[in-house]
Subunit: 298 residues, 2 copies
């Protein structure tokens, strides 16, 4: 197989684009897709202070690497979740990454703060992924606010987001469907804008980019994510994609082009925000979900 651009030997074939690329032109393709995503959804510009949430996985490290390389003002933010060996491994990957590329990250350690995920899991009757999501969202918001960032960027890719869309579509919950936007506006004083610049790229493409560019990342799946429904949704979308390349991209993008507005209207009506009685941050409830969890733990 030859590169579509230069006819050198191709390293990767992308069926949904009906194209093969050498390393150089795959990188070019990849960066263009990120630029396109940022532009299409007006995510940020060079005047913005961007906080990149990193986990030690391929998506977030690739995102940080790229935004930094493209000249954006970025700071990494890592949450040590306290999930045993998995968290230790991922922290080591983050440290190696920041050292290799001369970058600095803010680190939040849930164990030091007294509420690592396994401890929260014991007192809160929810799937670990749901608990972890609440904790992450809380610290993303808190750190971004306290450090005066303009925007919070996460490494969610096309597989993540099309799977989440499928999950929300199977339940048809308008409130969730109205929160799919890869550029979620800020809310009140505390909650900063959230963006997902990798939404035009698949898991496979991000992994290939990391590999070709010497970005080492944790390949283990989180041990707590076993049985997560998102895995089921990714599985069925992969099976459709394999028979009909381009399915994920079309499903995800067409949603925003022709459908999302139909759900936005009533979410605007419903949203009423409070300041959490415990921490003071914006919340949909009088006490925010995170502070409620901590109360249950005590």
């Amino acid at each position: 197989m030859k590169c579509r651009k230069c006819s050198e030997k191709a390293l990767i074939t992308l069926r949904r684009h009906n194209a093969s690329f050498c390393k150089e032109h795959f990188n070019e393709f990849f960066i263009k897709q990120v630029e396109k995503g940022i532009k299409e959804y007006k995510m940020f510009d060079f005047s913005d202070k961007i906080m990149v949430c990193i986990s030690g996985g391929k998506d977030s490290l690739v995102l940080w690497y790229l935004l930094h390389k493209m000249g954006y003002e970025t700071t990494g933010m890592y949450i040590n979740l306290g999930i045993g060996e998995y968290s230790e491994k991922s922290l080591r990957k983050v440290e190696a990454f920041t050292e290799k590329f001369g970058l600095k990250a803010v680190i939040v350690n849930l164990t030091e703060l007294g509420h690592p995920i396994p401890l929260l899991e014991k007192s809160v009757k929810r799937h670990a992924c749901s608990i972890c999501g609440i904790a992450k969202r809380y610290y993303f918001n808190k750190v971004a606010y306290e450090n005066n960032f303009d925007v919070v960027a996460t490494g969610h890719n096309l597989d993540d987001e099309s799977a989440r869309l499928l999950g929300n579509v199977l339940k048809w919950d308008p409130a969730y469907l109205s929160k799919m936007d890869p550029n979620l506006p800020e809310e009140g004083d505390y909650i900063k804008r959230k963006v997902k610049p990798l939404i035009r790229l698949t898991e496979l493409e991000v992994g290939a980019f990391a590999f070709m560019n010497g970005i080492d990342y944790i390949t283990d799946e989180c041990p707590k994510s076993v049985g997560a429904t998102s895995m089921l949704y990714k599985g069925v979308l992969n099976s459709l994609e394999s028979d009909m390349p381009g399915t994920k991209h079309y499903f995800y993008n067409e949603f925003f082009r022709t459908v999302a507005d139909r759900f936005r209207a009533d979410s605007e009506e419903k949203t009423e925000m409070y300041n959490c009685a415990v921490c003071g941050m914006e919340s949909f409830l009088e006490t925010c979900s995170f502070c409620k969890m901590l109360e249950k733990m005590k």
Copy 2:
């Protein structure tokens, strides 16, 4: 496993209803689901003349059997598609069925009319399923109009309709999404109301009902349907259903409860109908799709 109702030995377990049933109580359950579908979507009542479209498969024969048994005024309508051995077999099943239950069917023979599906397939560049759909819809409308039926009933089940919904959702085409209703209103003078009374029942449940009630049907899949995308969609929904029983039903029903209206509005704006220049029936184009196909064949 024991029947939920009478504690006799159960013949079938329905995971999505968390219930097992003996033959008698499965039949009771099944009929209730059909009644519920008819009532919920106001499909028809005992004063309506119902044309039941039958193919020789389980769904349409079960539907006809039940509507007749429930006391509705029904006539079967069978189209011999002229697809070799498959069509011959299905016709024999229909003849055996009508004889066994003392019923009468109108029969349309595409070979005698000069355009069996395989002949149309040679001149029209489309998947056979699409050609067949156009031809069937045309004769359903024509026969219903000429024989003065009030409503046209088809045997589409929950698997068929949730798969169709999934296909339409993956493409997000508002025009298709607005045509999902299991009770489609009549259009103009020629096109009668179309209803799908089996939408609360799965393929497996309909098959079990046929088996338990001595309804013999053709089990072969149509040889032309190989590679039809609907099969892919059914496959992924079955895989989700197996991990999360009830997924299909919730996906399908919740669509009508909370979403369908959001797509109905613009379909009403768009619909402009003509009378086909060739056959005179209502059409979205100046010449209807079926007459266009026949022209291409000549």
